[in-house]
C-alpha cells in the first residue's frame, strides 16, 4: 500500500493499539499533525502546553496501562523539551515512544533553523533511538521501537523523522516479526538458581522481601503475594514497588530507605536473607552500601543482567521476568514458621514508630492532609505525586486497594511530574478517581498543563501541599547546612486564582477543620478541583537516613511524636 511517511507513522501507531498521543506541533512535525484527523477517534491527540508535559503524561499513561506511552514533539526546542521526561522514563524503566520531527534531510547537520541532534542528545537516556532517513523504513522502525520499549526491562525509545520523510510517499510493508539479533531479553531464570534460591529461603530464619517496580511492570502481584504467604516472609516495597503488594496485608512492612520505615531499616540490618524482586538496590534504598544488610545473603530476581551484581553480590540470581521467576520459585518454596523473627519485627515496629504525628497540632500538618486524602478516597483511587517531602509522606502513608495505583518519579526525582502525570493517568483511566498530591514548588514547574485539564475536562483532584518552601531543600538546609535557608523559601502565587483562571474549581484550607470538608467537596464535584492546603511550613520528614549514612543510623521521628504513641499504647493497656 502506498502512503506518505506521516500516514505510515500513524498507521503503525494504530496497529500497535495506541489510543492516546500527547504532543505539541511545530514546523518539523506538521505533516504528522496534518494527518492526525484521518485517524480520529481511533487515535486521540492531547495538546500539552509544554513538551515536558507530553513526555510525563505519556510516561504516566504507560505506567498505569502497561502499554507504551506516546508523545510527539517538533525538532529543536520541541525535542529538547522532551529530554527531562525521557530521562524520567529511562530511570524508572517506563516504556515510552517519543516521535520527533526533524529538519529536512538536506539541512541535517548544517545548523538549520530549529535543528538539534536529538538522537545524539538522547543516546544515554534511551534504550535505543532511530533517525529515519528512508520512508520505507518507517514500519520496521516503529515496530522495533514498540518492541524494544515494552519488552525486557522497559524504557524509552525515540524516533526522529525529518519533515521531508514524513511527506514522501513509500510502500507500507508491516513486518510480522521483529528481528533484532542484538536484543534478546531474558525471561526464564536458570533452574539451578531457582533451586538455590528456594533452598536459601527455606534455610533462612530472618528473611525479608524487597519488592520493586519490576513486580508492577510484570504484573506479578499474585505471585509476590503467593511467595510471601507460602514462604511466610515479610514484604517491604521500594518507592516504585508501592502498590505492588496490598498495604493492609499482615505481612506488609512499608517502604525502606532514606525516608522509609525506621523498623524496616533496622530489620534489613538484622535480616539473614534479602529477596530483591524487580529492584536494583538503589542508594536511596540501601543507605551506605558497604553497611547494607551486613548479615544477609541476597537472592536477586531481576530482568536486567546489568543490575545483577552491580551494587550487591547475590548468592542466587534469577535473571528473567519477575512474574515468571516467581512462578518457578513458588513451586519450590516451603513454608516455615519464624516466630522469633516475627516477634522481633513486632518489637522493632513498637520501638520505632514511623507513622505518627500530633493530630491536634495548631497548624495543618502535611502528614494529616495526605492521610486524609487516602482515607476519603476509600482505597479506590490513583495517587500521583511530585518530588520532595510531600512525596515521601505520600509514600509512607500510602493506602489503596488498587494494585499499581501509586505513580511517582523515583529514579530521576523530577519535580513537576505531578501535574502532567496525573493527566496521563486520568486519560488512561477515565472514570477513575485520580489524586495529584503536589508540592507548591513542583506544581509551579508544570502548572501550565492545567490548560489540558480544563480543555479536556479531566476530573483530577489536585491537592497542593503548600508549605511555602521547597520543603525538602529547606529540610536539608536546616539539618545539614546550619539552617541557612537559601533559595528554599517560595513566594507563591495565589493558586486558587490560577485554577480559577482556567475555570477549575478551587478551594483553600488554612485550618485543620477545613481539610476534610474541602477534600469531600472535591470528591463530590464532577470536574477537576484544586485544593490549596496551607500546611505547617517547617515540618521535617522523618524517619530519615542522612546522606552517606547507613540504614542503622536512621534518624527516627521526633521524641514528642514517639511520646504520643507511648501514651496511646499506655491508654490502651490501661483499658
Amino acid at each position: 500500500m502506498e502512503m506518505t511517511g506521516a500516514e505510515m507513522i500513524l498507521e503503525c501507531l494504530a496497529r500497535e493499539g495506541v489510543e492516546a498521543i500527547f504532543g505539541l506541533p511545530g514546523g518539523a512535525n506538521l505533516p504528522l499533525y496534518d494527518t492526525l484527523p484521518k485517524f480520529y477517534p481511533k487515535i486521540r491527540h492531547y495538546l500539552v502546553r509544554h513538551e515536558q508535559g507530553a513526555a510525563h503524561a505519556a510516561d504516566a499513561y504507560a505506567r498505569v496501562t502497561g502499554r507504551p506511552g506516546v508523545c510527539f514533539a517538533t525538532s529543536g526546542p520541541g525535542a529538547t523539551n522532551l529530554v527531562t521526561g525521557i530521562a524520567n522514563a529511562w530511570m524508572d524503566s517506563v516504556p515510552l515512544v517519543a516521535i520527533t520531527g526533524s529538519v529536512i534531510r538536506p539541512l541535517i547537520g548544517r545548523d538549520g533553523f530549529q535543528e538539534a541532534d536529538i538522537t545524539g542528545i538522547t543516546i544515554p537516556i534511551t534504550k535505543h533511538n532511530y533517525l529515519v532517513l528512508d520512508v520505507n523504513e518507517i514500519p520496521r522502525v516503529m515496530r522495533e521501537a514498540f518492541y524494544i520499549a515494552s519488552t525486557g526491562r522497559p524504557g524509552p525509545v525515540l524516533v526522529d523523522i525529518p519533515r521531508d520523510v514524513q511527506q514522501e510517499r513509500g510502500q507500507f510493508y508491516w513486518p510480522e516479526k521483529v528481528e533484532l539479533r542484538g536484543y534478546r531479553p531474558r525471561i526464564y531464570p536458570d533452574p539451578a538458581e531457582v533451586e538455590k534460591a528456594a533452598r536459601l529461603i527455606y534455610e533462612s530464619e530472618r528473611p525479608l522481601i524487597l519488592a520493586g517496580h519490576g513486580v508492577i511492570i510484570s504484573q506479578a502481584y499474585y505471585e509476590l503475594k503467593e511467595l510471601a504467604e507460602k514462604g511466610n516472609i515479610p514484604v517491604i516495597t521500594t518507592l516504585l514497588g508501592i502498590s505492588g503488594f496490598p498495604p493492609d496485608h499482615p505481612l506488609y512492612m512499608g517502604m525502606p530507605g532514606m525516608h522509609g520505615m525506621h523498623w524496616n531499616n533496622l530489620a534489613i540490618s538484622e535480616a539473614d536473607l534479602i529477596i530483591g524482586i524487580g529492584m536494583r538496590f538503589d542508594d536511596r534504598v540501601t543507605g551506605r552500601l558497604k553497611d547494607f544488610a551486613p548479615l544477609a545473603k541476597i537472592v536477586h530476581i531481576e530482568v536486567d543482567p546489568a543490575e545483577v551484581g552491580k551494587n550487591v553480590r547475590p548468592a542466587a540470581a534469577l535473571v528473567g521476568d519477575a512474574r515468571v521467576c516467581l512462578q518457578q520459585l513458588n513451586r519450590l518454596v516451603q513454608h516455615r514458621e519464624r516466630p522469633d523473627w516475627f516477634a522481633r519485627l513486632d518489637e522493632l515496629k513498637r520501638e520505632h514508630p514511623s507513622l505518627v504525628y500530633p493530630e491536634d497540632a495548631a497548624q495543618i500538618l502535611p502528614q494529616y492532609v495526605i492521610q486524609k486524602i487516602y482515607e476519603v478516597s476509600g482505597g479506590d483511587a490513583y495517587f500521583v505525586t511530585g518530588v520532595g517531602q510531600h512525596q515521601m509522606w505520600a509514600a509512607q502513608f500510602f493506602w489503596s486497594r488498587k494494585p499499581n495505583s501509586f505513580v511517582t518519579s523515583g529514579g530521576l526525582g523530577t519535580m513537576g511530574f505531578e501535574v502532567p502525570a496525573a493527566i496521563g493517568v486520568q486519560i488512561a483511566k477515565p472514570g477513575e478517581l485520580v489524586w495529584a498530591i503536589c508540592g507548591d514548588g513542583g506544581f509551579q514547574m508544570t502548572m501550565e498543563e492545567l490548560g489540558v485539564v480544563a480543555e479536556y475536562d479531566l476530573p483530577i483532584k489536585f491537592a497542593i501541599i503548600n508549605n511555602g518552601h521547597h520543603g525538602m531543600v529547606r529540610q536539608w538546609q536546616s539539618l545539614f547546612y546550619r539552617g541557612n535557608l537559601v533559595a528554599s523559601p517560595l513566594k507563591n502565587p495565589d493558586f486558587v486564582k490560577i485554577a480559577e483562571a482556567y475555570g477549575i474549581l478551587a478551594l483553600r484550607a488554612t485550618r485543620r477543620e477545613e481539610v476534610v470538608p474541602a477534600l469531600e467537596r472535591a470528591l463530590a464535584h464532577q470536574g477537576p478541583v484544586l485544593i490549596d492546603v496551607h500546611v505547617k511550613q517547617d515540618e521535617d520528614c522523618f524517619p530519615m537516613v542522612p546522606p552517606g549514612a547507613s540504614l542503622q543510623e536512621t534518624i527516627g521521628l521526633p521524641k514528642e511524636y514517639i511520646e504520643l504513641v507511648r501514651r496511646r499504647q499506655m491508654a490502651e493497656v490501661g483499658r
Binding site: 544515554p124 524494544i148 519488552t151 539479533r181 536484543y183 525471561i187 502481584y221 503475594k225 551484581g309
Partner: protein, 188 residues
Amino acid sequence: MSEGKRNGRRFHTIIALVEDRPGVLNRIASKWRQRGFNIESLAVGHSETPGLSRMTFVVDASHDADQVVKQLDKLVDVVDIRDVSHEDIVAREMALIKVRCDAGNRSHIIEIVDIFRANIIDVSPESVIVEVTGDEGKIDAMFELLKDYGVIEMVRTGRVAMLRGAEASHPVGEGEESYERYPGQETW
C-alpha cells in the same frame, strides 16, 4: 600480554560484534565516557558476517569494566561482547612509522626492520615508512629504536584480538528466546 598493565594502569581487551550502522560507535563510546574510562585503542572493521562489524577495544578501566560490558551488551546494536582479558587470545597491532633517513643510515634502519620482521613500504630520499605488526610491546620497542633516527610520524591501528583454537570468539544464535510477556492478573 592479554591483560596489560602499563604505567600501573589496568587494561582490558574487549571484543564485540556489532551492527554495521551509523551511530553504533557513538552509543558504545558514550557508555565508556559516562564512566570516565579512557579508550586506549579501538579497531573496527568488517567481520565474517555481512552487516556485522567486529571491534576490539583496549580500555583503561581500573575497576568495574565488567559493569560497562554488561551495559554495552544491552545495546540493541551490540550482538555480542566479551572481555577476553583473561582468555587465551592472539592479539596484534600494526603500525606505520615514518623515519627520517638518508643514504648514510638507511642500511641501519633496514637492519632493525629485518630483526623485527617488519617491512619497508615506502622510500624517499629523506625517509622510509616502516610497517610493523606485533603486540604492543614489539611496536613500542621498534619505536624506541627508530626514535634516534628521527620519527616524523607514527600511526597505530590499535589492537585486534581473537580467541586461539577452533572456537568462534562470538558464538552466534546462543540464548535465543522469543519474548512474550503474558499479562498477569491485575489484582492482588
